[in-house]
């Protein structure tokens, strides 16, 4: 830039313009949008770890599981009003889902447009987890809608007794096709996390040659742990361990 001759008696050219808003300029770039996807993905991942651990209480009987379900509503009392924590978490998670999905949609459109002509000789396919991220994500979003209607709002639950999550859960998973859909969705979740966690680390700049193996190991471990932990519940119901 350098100094410009002053015009109209303007003093020094050292004015400090207000830079464009951080969030706006980051959201407009592909790198910033990916960072939003990575951060929201990690928020959802952290929630899933807690969710999976809570689910395993189902193996300790209706009393403990229903008590746990009740406690979630009272977290933070008496500092927080009843269900304030729950609703804060719900808002944060909904915002994460929306931001994650919108960023994925916008980036995917751009990605597809960037390769208008396909190769006649198809290159080797990349890993299954990597190339199922988009459709896997769509399947997971549809699963979440059904999952909330089934076990949160109880609209499609065969038992539908408020305050009795254990009985609702067992009634739902007693239908084999519901369990099958749930298990399929959890396998999709495992694949999504397998590529997603490692990819999020790259996007947030945590990747390095030294850390690469550790990051891949953590990604695989998280994917396996969450998939197995979630699948254990419908398997428990189907085998009669949970009834």
């Amino acid at each position: 830039m350098g100094t410009r001759p002053s015009v109209g008696g303007m003093a020094l050219a050292t004015r400090t313009d207000r830079p464009p808003s951080l969030i706006r300029s980051a959201w407009r770039s592909t790198v910033g949008k990916k960072a939003v996807m990575a951060a929201t993905g990690l928020v959802m991942l952290a929630y899933l770890v807690a969710h999976m651990m809570g689910n395993l209480k189902v193996f300790f009987g209706a009393g403990e599981f229903n008590h746990y379900g009740h406690w979630i509503r009272t977290i933070g009392e008496p500092f927080l009003h009843r269900e304030w924590f729950l609703w804060t978490a719900r808002v944060a998670l909904s915002a994460s889902v929306v931001l994650h999905g919108v960023a994925a949609y916008q980036l995917s459109r751009r990605d597809l447009a960037a390769r208008p002509a396909k190769y006649a000789h198809r290159p080797r396919r990349k890993s299954y987890a990597t190339r199922t991220m988009r459709w896997g994500g769509v399947i997971l979003a549809l699963f979440v809608v059904w999952h909330i209607l089934d076990l949160t709002t109880l609209d499609v639950n065969p038992n539908a007794q408020e305050g009795r999550p254990y009985e609702n859960l067992v009634a739902s998973f007693d239908r084999w096709y519901v369990s099958a859909f749930y298990i399929a969705a959890m396998l999709a979740l495992g694949l999504h996390i397998r590529h997603g966690f490692w990819s999020a680390a790259q996007t947030l700049g945590a990747g390095s040659p030294r850390r690469d193996r550790a990051l891949k190991t953590v990604a695989n471990a998280l994917a396996a742990l969450l998939t197995c932990g979630f699948i254990a519940v419908p398997l428990g119901v189907l085998t009669g361990v949970v009834s």
């Binding site: 830079p19 951080l22 770039s29 592909t30 910033g32 390769r115 002509a117 190769y119």
Partner: protein, 252 residues
């Protein structure tokens, strides 16, 4: 060696193109892939046909001019440039598919020649150090630790051939841009423009028709110079650091 070639022929930027089949005979396995195409072109010219257009310059693997997708892989089956790929890596009687780089940002000019000036626009937005260049400075005037010099050099090896964009399912230029950003940003000479460089180059990259990164790693696999995939993570870190610090874009 006798080979069947299926080559993308396209008369000009506007025209439609098609894979066209040619038979070549008497190919030595010591020929480079470009020499094999030279051989084909000589026959085409003698037969009064239009020779296959392709980019090439140094033929030493250091200039980045050549590049084509051979059997679905940028620069073919070996980690090298097309000019340094030898016919011994193919079998006698093999059918070889030869296509141009495919990306919205790299429009086909003719046959296997694509317009890569999108890369030049990315470089022009920050892929340099603003310093008076006269006679070379004294080499020890600015000490650079050996590991840093090695890291910079590893990324400076990028020759801008575009194989990363051609191999990426999203036609993304992240590896190219990251190589340039990391090369200069880790060096003391590049430090003063560290923030404006990464912000400007990512902006310029996004302003072209390149896609985004989905961390498939296809780029680093295709790169004839072995630019590591971690370059992308380092550039992401530089970008986020510059954004959080409110880094100013060049010229604003």
């Amino acid at each position: 060696m006798n080979l069947t070639l299926r080559i993308w022929r396209q008369r000009d930027a506007a025209g439609p193109g098609a894979m066209t089949t040619y038979e070549v005979t008497g190919i030595s396995e010591d020929m480079s892939f470009l020499e094999m195409l030279d051989h084909l072109n000589e026959e085409l010219i003698l037969a009064g046909d239009d020779p296959v257009a392709f980019d090439h310059d140094c033929r030493e693997g250091i200039c980045g001019a050549c590049g084509m997708v051979i059997n679905g892989r940028a620069h073919g089956p070996e980690r090298t440039t097309t000019c340094q790929l030898h016919m011994r890596h193919f079998r006698d009687g093999e059918t070889i598919d030869v296509e141009p780089w495919r990306a919205a940002a790299f429009p086909v000019v003719k046959d296997l020649v694509v317009d890569r000036s999108a890369f030049d626009r990315v470089i022009a937005s920050g892929g340099y150090v603003s310093a008076p260049t006269g006679s070379a400075p004294e080499a020890h005037a600015t000490p650079v630790p050996k590991p840093v010099a090695d890291l910079a050099f590893e990324h400076a090896e990028c020759i801008g051939c575009g194989a990363c964009v051609a191999a990426c399912p999203n036609g993304s230029a992240m590896l190219f841009t990251a190589a340039k950003v990391v090369h200069l940003n880790v060096l003391p000479q590049g430090a003063p423009e560290r923030a404006s460089r990464v912000l400007g180059m990512v902006d310029a990259m996004d302003a072209q028709s390149f896609g985004g990164c989905t961390n498939t790693g296809e780029c680093a696999t295709a790169c004839p110079k072995g630019i590591p995939l971690t370059a992308i993570s380092t550039m992401n870190r530089e970008y986020l650091r510059a954004t959080v610090k409110g880094g100013v874009r060049r010229g604003t």
